[in-house]
């Protein structure tokens, strides 16, 4: 369970205090998949960072009794001078996963072949994405975070990613931020709408989409 207790997050931008979240208290169930909706700049990405613990709240607390993933497919943490394999080994060490198992899985899933032993700086963006997605699937989490899902590789590889992700989601929770209500509906049963610092949680994703639609039209 993730317990969010009186969470407030503010930023100073252009000498103005921007409130992203104002005194939000909710509980998130790791058995559910939440679609996170909100207008541009509402703070969806910030909310995901707060949930992950990679950004500190201004006030309030987030208690996590589950293992949180990094944003699915995030490649920014790869060291460009290290090989793909060395980067994978680094993440396996951090998350106490079996290094050999994780490396074998990534080698097989990413289809990078010998390039896995080349520095990441030599990779194309497609290769980097394949590596990032593979390592995201190789390490088990209780709650996956997705900030705007993007297609990786060709249609065959996309299908493989979808299957691996579906397998993971069967055993884990999900919070997915997206502008696409269609994508959100495909992946999520529950929903959240972030609006002017308020977070509304809905058991049915259709209710969340409707509230979001009304806000967009207002």
């Amino acid at each position: 369970m993730i317990v969010i207790d009186r969470l407030t997050k503010t930023y100073w931008t252009h000498f103005r205090r921007k409130v992203v979240l104002s005194n939000v208290s909710v509980n998130l169930d790791p058995k559910l998949s939440y679609g996170l909706l909100g207008q541009n700049g509402a703070g969806k990405s910030t909310f995901l960072k707060l949930i992950a613990g990679t950004e500190a709240p201004t006030s309030g607390r987030i208690h996590r009794s589950v293992r949180m993933s990094w944003p699915l497919g995030f490649a920014g943490g790869f060291h460009p001078l290290m090989t793909g394999r060395e980067n994978v080994r680094f993440l396996a060490r951090v998350y106490d996963a079996d290094i050999a198992e994780v490396t074998d899985f990534v080698e097989d899933f990413s289809e990078l072949g010998r390039d896995l032993d080349m520095p990441v700086k030599t990779y194309s963006s497609g290769m980097t994405s394949r590596l990032a997605f593979a390592v995201s699937m190789a390490i088990e989490f209780d709650f996956y975070l997705v900030d705007e899902i993007t297609a990786v590789g060709d249609s065959r590889f996309q299908l493989k990613c979808a299957r691996a992700f579906a397998e993971r989601r069967a055993r884990a929770g999900l919070i997915m931020a997206s502008h696409s209500t269609g994508t959100i509906k495909d992946y999520c049963g529950a929903g959240m709408v972030l609006q002017k610092g308020r977070l509304m949680v809905f058991e049915d994703i259709n209710d969340a989409i409707e509230v979001h639609r009304q806000a967009m039209e207002a």
Partner: protein, 269 residues
């Protein structure tokens, strides 16, 4: 294709011991990553980095030889220079590496469970290890070359070297922490290196300077450390410049400021 075995879900991060284990793992993993990437790729780069201080010492020896200056203390020029270069190097490498910690590792903070304290802790552990090896390598090289390494007061000598490392940690935390808010601070942090090389007594004794300059340098902790190291090394040297109270107080204050800045960086980055 089969995914890695997930039949045993990982423990949650709610217990103190579990959280500590996570931090220990992260620190260990970041140390390994730093070792591999510090100077180019592979562990060989790290080993090459350990002998770089010998280059600083060689430059200092060449410069003083060319200037035709005798050692202001003792009879062995390279040994006198070592007592200045070694603390300077320990400060400089610690300062630079700690200062650049967040700049070089910021993306790692996107991985849940990785904290700024883990990144700084990893760098500190690596720096104290490499600093110890640097001291051994420099002293061993001088001994092999036939220089007399009779230290007057070993504990005080080692204490001075430890203070150099601590000062590097303190200034690194301050400049690195402020650097997350104002990037110009990192530039300033790089500039103080050559500035302190010239003003910290690596090549001279503060007691030989005019009173006004000497009194101003008394508040330069690195100058105090180097003079303290020489007081410890040369049993015949008595300094009116070395002031342990100013030195210990200034390092304590600088370390406290650095430690306060670290959690503040989390709110900025």
């Amino acid at each position: 294709m089969t995914a890695p075995d997930t039949s045993n879900p990982r423990p949650a991060l709610d217990g103190w011991s579990t959280a500590s284990a996570m931090h220990a793992r992260v620190v260990g993993a970041v140390i390994m990553r730093d070792l591999q990437t510090r100077f180019g790729t592979g562990y060989l780069g790290f080993l090459l980095g350990l002998i770089m201080p010998l280059g600083h010492l060689t430059i200092a020896i060449v410069v003083t030889t060319l200037l035709g200056r005798p050692a202001p203390l003792g009879t062995d020029g390279p040994v006198f220079l070592m007592t200045g270069v070694l603390p300077f190097i320990l400060w400089l490498y610690g300062h630079r590496q700690i200062m650049l910690t967040l700049l070089q590792n910021r993306p790692l903070l996107y991985f849940p469970g990785v904290d700024v304290f883990d990144l700084f802790s990893a760098r500190m552990i690596l720096e104290i290890t490499s600093g110890t090896l640097v001291v051994v390598i420099v002293l061993a090289t001088l001994a092999i070359l036939g220089h007399d390494l009779t230290v007057g007061d070993w504990p005080a000598f080692l204490y001075g070297l430890i203070l150099s490392w601590l000062l590097g940690v303190a200034t690194g935390l301050i400049f690195g922490g402020l650097g997350t808010m104002w990037s110009a601070t990192i530039i300033a942090g790089n500039i103080i290196g050559p500035l302190l090389w010239v003003t910290s007594g690596v090549l001279f004794l503060p007691d030989g300077l005019p009173d006004k300059i000497r009194d101003a340098l008394a508040y330069n902790p690195l100058c105090q450390i180097i003079d303290g190291v020489r007081v410890a090394y040369f049993s015949e040297y008595s300094s009116s410049f070395y002031n342990p109270l100013i030195l210990n107080t200034s390092i304590l204050i600088l370390l406290s400021i650095g430690m306060v800045l670290v959690p503040m960086t989390r709110r900025v980055i």
